[in-house]
Each structure stands twice: as C-alpha cells, then as structure tokens.
Amino acid sequence: MALMTRAGVMLVLLLVVTRAMAVSAIDIRDFKDPVLAERYSDITASLRCPKCDAQAIDSSNSPVAEDMRERVAFLLREGRSDQEILNYMVDRFGEFVLYNPRLDGRTWLLWALPAVLVVVGGLVLAAFVRARKNARVRALSEEERMRLDSLLNRHPKETE
C-alpha cells in the first residue's frame, strides 16, 4: 500500500471531471542519486496540489503542481530534509497541501478514535468471556469448581 501515490480515482459513482486530470502528467526528472529519486517520488506523492480537486502534485499537470515539483527537486538537490521541504510548502500553501496531516490539537482524534475503538472492543470481548465464566462457575458444585480452577490455571501455562 505504501506505493499508492496520488489522489485519484476509481470511479465509483461516475465522474465528471471538469477541470483537472484529463491526462496525468508524466514528470521526467533525472536524479543521479537513486535515494534522492525515491525521496522525490515520496514527497511529491504526499503533497496535494492546491489547484486540483483531489490529486497529489506528482500526477497533476496544473502549472502550480509543476512549480511545486520543480521546487521540491531544487530543495532536495540543495540537501534539505524531507521535513524541511514539507514545511517549506506549508509556509507558502498552508497545511492543506499535506496529505498526511500533522498531529496537533485538531487532528489527534484521527488516530485516537481508532485506538479507542480497539480498546473498547477488547473490553466488550472481555465482558462476554467473563459472563461465561461467571455463568459456569455459579452452576458448579464446590468440588467441580476446584477441579475447574485447577484446569483453568493449567491452561495459560500450556498455551504460553
């Protein structure tokens, strides 16, 4: 999934594309260093074209996307870090251009909510399992319960 690059398309309910993307741009850029080429494609895939509807700059042929690609390449050759380049773009075009939003006061929920759901789900599961255990323990005689306890205590060890 990591290679998925841009905002784009599968037409789900049919589209009428008015402005952007009749043809995705084919951007020819030669980096001597393959690492730089890799970083270039990652960065241009994670920056959103401000002019387009929902496209990363790597595939858009709108003029501003071309300028931004040009600038990314320039900054990379200058030796700037990925983060510096992203900040550089945010300073000019706003947070909007980041496809991977920064973690801050307004965005933490994006990561927190899925995490909370998994935890709550785990608790619900535990409740069901407890319910069974209780139901069973209540129905057993003293002797049976002792036997059960010893069985239950044995289990964790065996599965470890």
Partner: protein, 174 residues
C-alpha cells in the same frame, strides 16, 4: 434504561454527523485559506513591468495599505476583473500589480487594452514571487497593511459584488 440509552447512541451519532453534512453543503470545498495571513509579505528584488532596469523590493509596500493583485495577460478572468480594480483604485486604494509568468510585451499590451489601475507593476516572469505568495491560480489579490503584513487574501477574480467586501477590509486595516 441504560440499555435504551445505549441503543439510542447510533441515532445520536448520526444526528451529529448529519449536522456536519448539512453544514458541509454550505461550504465551498474548493476554497483554500492562505498560509500567509498575518505574515510579512515575502521579500523580493525584481524589476518593474515598465522598466527592465528598475530594482524594487518589499519596502515598496511599507507606509500605506495596498492591494497587491497577481495578474497575467494570458488569464481570461483578469480581464473581467479590471473594471473592479479600476474602481478600487479610483476610490483611493493603492494598487500594486504583479505580472505573473508573462512577457513584458504582452503585459504592457494587456494594460493598454484593459486599463491601468496599478501604481507599480512588479514583473515576475518566472513566477518566483508568486510561488513565495502561495499563488496557485491567477488572479489572486492580497491586502498588505502599512507595516508590510498580509492581512487578507481574495482568491479568484474580484466580482462587482466583491468590491464592497474588499473595500471594507481595506478600511479595517487603514
């Protein structure tokens, strides 16, 4: 009772979601905010459209409120916008133009034909200043206060209906 509340939860979540979807209908998803509000106008050294040998920089914008309009001769809506810019200029707003990714010849011709609201025209043939300003479509208009701080940005062309709004912003920062 607690269980009924729990069962009502999906409905409540849906109400909240529905509220946002309703609000969303009134929003324009293609609107963008400027990253440069309350920031200094970027520094630059460029020539003017009229004079290739002139050298101007951001100090040009100090001392009074100005409207900086990014335009180009190749941009059709810039023509539509000219009457409104002329009106703003007549109403005493200092207008500064940035001729963006253009040639001198075409730029001058454009002004001859459609009017000259600008006191100065910064000539930005490579769009470098435009990039610093986060311009992604022409025309765009920035309001810069007397200290050279960007206070307001209008994306797209200023329609006759927008003139009053722009004037109010100008008055606000005077």
């Amino acid at each position: 009772m607690r269980r009924r509340v729990l069962l009502l939860l999906p409905f409540l979540i849906f109400l909240v979601l529905g509220f946002f979807l309703y609000r969303g209908l009134a929003l324009d998803p293609s609107a963008r905010e400027s990253a440069l509000l309350a920031e200094k106008f970027p520094s630059f050294t460029l020539s003017t459209l009229e004079d290739p040998d002139a050298r101007i920089d951001e100090s040009l914008l100090r001392g009074q409120v100005s409207l900086v309009n990014v335009w180009a001769s190749w941009c059709p809506t810039c023509k539509e916008e000219m009457p409104q810019l002329l009106e703003l200029s007549e109403r005493g707003v200092q207008m500064v133009g940035i001729d963006y990714k253009d040639t001198r010849e075409h730029g001058r011709q454009f002004l001859e034909e459609f009017g000259k609201p600008f006191e100065v025209n910064i000539f930005d043939p490579d769009g470098d200043l435009g990039f610093e300003l986060g311009v992604y479509g022409v025309p765009e208009t920035f309001l810069v206060d007397a200290n050279g701080i960007i206070r307001y940005k209008h994306i797209g062309y200023i329609t006759p209906d927008d003139v009053e709004e722009v004037m109010q912003e100008v008055e606000k920062w005077r």
